[in-house]
Symmetry: C2
Subunit: 205 residues, 2 copies
DNA sequence: CCACTCAGTAAACATGTGTTCGCCGAAGTT
DNA sequence: AACTTCGGCGAACACATGTTTACTGAGTGG
């Protein structure tokens, strides 16, 4: 694998990343549909025309940001759903993981929450694809759990949807509140997961 | 009450409403943070400067739209949570009501979903206030249900949050899918509510 | 009937925008 | 060493933007 790619491609990737970083920062207080291409290049310190060497337009940039924000999360999520420990322990682990991720990458999380239903169709679609992939992976992991014996695939997928939606909701709730309210948001998230776990236990009654 | 307000104030309210209607239509495929004031006046057919006779800026317009989209919904929601009939019947009623509302006012629903985490702070805040009010009202209604005996207020509020979040999620999921997928979205929504209901029954174990 | 209020107008302001063009010079290739 | 590739530049294009200004004329109330 890893060809030590030439100093040319390296530089290109570097400025591409700089564009994405600056864009993400600018997107902290506006939506993608109002993000100007010149605004981004100005923040990076380069000429507007150079933007086109990397992206076809701001929508394209947005799709790349989705990939960066969500693409690397699949492994993390699979790891979070491991079925070891009591329900309580698993809930604690999952919620702690969300909290840590939001604290580590707040701008990414904000971007996803904002553009999930935002005004730029290709970006919305890209986010939808990733979240559906998450749900599929969670559903698969849930299927492996002995607790899920007797569940139909459709019901597993339904449950997975609840988990993924809840994860996104919790993450964006963490962003809205001030720093002090973090623990109470997480406590609520844990209670909600406990509620779902109870429903899960009695689903086949 | 209702002073038959003069033909002057009547006209003013009429063009104000025209501005809001045109804006809502333009917002079907962009976010508020990119909505231009001129764009709106052009759609209505009036001079840009006249906009300021009604709103301080597009953010102000947005807040007014939130009021219009969500303000009239409190009664509907209270009516939807009435505690008559079996759980199954109540779930069917609630989900049908969401479906009907989305079909009747798709632009309003889209606007709320989009700006809930959008780039315009005052609008985000206005939506947050309304949704919190919804949750409070639902929590109060749940408290009146004999089934909620023994629940702490905090837990009731937590449950209400699940219901409100689920309502918003379902509504925006209905918008994303094509017309044919409506029934499957509603079926999933019903199953998820059934899951929550089960958890609710066993909460005090 | 007359003074006054005020929603809507037209024009001008200074800036901002996306996109195209030809050019440069360092990196890569033979 | 000669030749090609290509990321970035600066300038120019034709518009679009928010906001202010002085003005008009219909609605209002004494």
């Amino acid at each position: 694998m890893s060809h030590t790619l030439g100093i040319r491609q390296a530089q290109k990737q570097k400025t591409r990343q700089a564009l994405m970083d600056s864009a993400l920062q600018l997107l902290e207080d506006q939506s993608l549909s109002s993000l100007g291409l010149r605004e981004v290049t100005r923040a990076v310190g380069m000429a507007p025309a150079a933007f086109y060497r990397h992206f076809a337009g701001t929508a394209d940039l947005g799709v790349a940001l989705v990939e960066q924000a969500l693409g690397s999360l699949h492994g993390t999520i699979r790891a979070a759903i491991v079925t070891t420990g009591s329900s309580e322990e698993r809930i604690d682990r999952a919620v702690a993981l969300i909290g840590a991720h939001v604290r580590a990458h707040p701008a990414h999380v904000r971007f996803i929450a904002r553009e999930r239903h935002g005004g730029v169709a290709p970006v919305r679609e890209a986010i939808g694809v990733q979240l559906r992939r998450f749900a599929d992976e969670v559903a698969e992991a849930l299927g492996a759990d002995p607790e899920s014996a007797g569940w139909t695939p459709a019901d597993l997928r339904m449950l997975a949807g609840v988990y993924v939606d809840h994860m996104v909701m919790t993450a964006s709730a963490l962003l809205e509140g001030d720093a002090g309210s973090e623990e109470s948001v997480l406590a609520t998230a844990r209670a909600q997961l406990r509620l779902v776990t109870l429903g899960r236990h009695h689903w086949l009654d």
